[in-house]
Amino acid sequence: MLNKILLFLWVASVICVIVIFQTVLQKILDIRGIFPDLLLVFVVYSALNKGIEVGMVTGFFCGSIIDSLSLSPAGLNMLSMLMLGYFVGVLREKIYKDKPFNQILIVIISTIVYGLIITIFIKVFHSSNRNILNFLTIGIPEAIYNGAITLPVFYLLDKILPWKRFKPTIYGY
């Protein structure tokens, strides 16, 4: 029980550090106005390494943090990240082969899908000025950037998080 609490606190502090990087120190990582979405990369990492449940819960909490600090409508990032955690978790069990190329591809696709969901939802329900052009000029470079940092971030998280990797065939069964 104590181990579980310690693990939870450790993961929470890693999320805190990621949030600080993404909000306070984002200009360090900024390239021509675009910075990587470290929280999204973390959600994908959690879902890939710990499966559906952890992916969903991490996605939900990371999404709620983004909702609270961003201009986006409350609940939107929560729902999008939750679904992202779920689908990446499902993908992990079905086709994931633990190859670096797959990890990069999953992060890129996740960023694009996530950006599209946010843009379409805001456009439809909030009759906003944001359009698909906004997504293309911001979302696509962000996806490439996220893809580029996937391997170093995954490596770093592997080192600092005491989560043990597991084979997809034995997980949950």
Binding site: T23, F60, E142
Partner: protein, 268 residues
């Protein structure tokens, strides 16, 4: 029996509960947007302040070490600039006084308030699609919603939500932001909206409006939020739209939104 059922369907249960929770928050978003934002912001702003202070200290130390080499030459240059600026400042104050007297004679209201409060940027929007900042001043410093935020170069945005010691500001580069802007030379008025990536676009300018590359754009004072005459940027591109009615006018902003560190909030 129940335990077996819960364990067997745990994924569906977790997914269902979390989806219901987020969808309900999404539908009740006007309430949650204000309350969750302010609660979370007031809880997290001390951490932001602390981390931004550490960041400033580290970057200042690195900058000082790097700049030590050119310090002597820079000092000389700055002294010359200070003396020049002092002269310009005296002239400016004279003009300001004269302008005030003439405005009084004509019974005009002053459009630029002198009351402003300095603030540090302690956080940025965590999502690329949205453009906002968090500043270290709140309602304890008399900051309230819709107060405008500027820096030494020009307009930055307006305050969107306030906690006791921090405030969230929507930047003019955000697609949701809209400012009534005027071309200083030709007095044509349009609506300035954010185009992301430190750029803005002026909408609703007709094709026969007189707009040229290099024209200065300032706030027009129409509407209730932004006062008249705040510098915004310079026209960087003018194109006729395919609709045959309006122009596409791109504006390069005076303020460098990629390096926002200190801003001023206009109290009045």
């Amino acid at each position: 029996m129940w335990q077996h059922f819960l364990w067997k369907h745990r994924r569906k249960i977790i997914l269902g509960v979390l989806v219901v929770l987020s969808v309900s928050i999404l539908f009740l978003h006007p309430f949650f947007n204000t309350s969750s934002n302010t609660i979370f912001l007031s809880f997290t702003s001390p951490f932001y302040k602390l981390s931004s202070k550490i960041k400033f200290k580290i970057s200042n130390s690195i900058n000082s070490i790097l700049m030590l080499k050119n310090l002597h030459e820079e000092n000389k240059l700055l002294r010359t600039q200070v003396s020049l600026l002092n002269k310009t400042n005296i002239q400016y104050e004279e003009l300001l006084n004269e302008n005030g007297r003439l405005r009084n004679l004509l019974n005009f209201k002053p459009y630029i308030s002198k009351k402003q409060i300095g603030a540090f940027v302690i956080g940025y929007d965590p999502a690329n699609l949205f453009k906002s900042i968090i500043i270290d001043r709140g309602y304890k410093d008399n900051i309230s919603k819709n107060m405008i935020v500027v820096n030494d170069k020009g307009l930055i945005g307006r305050v969107l939500s306030v906690t006791s010691n921090s405030a969230k500001t929507i930047l003019i580069t955000d697609a949701e932001s809209s400012v009534s802007a005027i071309v200083q030379r030709s007095r044509c008025i349009g609506s300035l909206v954010g185009a992301g990536k430190n750029m803005c676009e002026i909408k609703y300018l007709a094709q026969n409006d007189d707009v040229q590359i290099g024209d200065t754009i300032v706030s027009s004072g129409e509407g209730e939020i932004f006062p008249k005459g705040i510098p915004i940027g310079i026209v960087s591109n003018v194109e006729k739209k395919k609709d045959g009615i309006t122009l596409k006018v791109d504006v390069q902003l005076f303020a460098d939104f990629s390096k926002l560190e200190e801003v001023f909030v206009k109290i009045e």
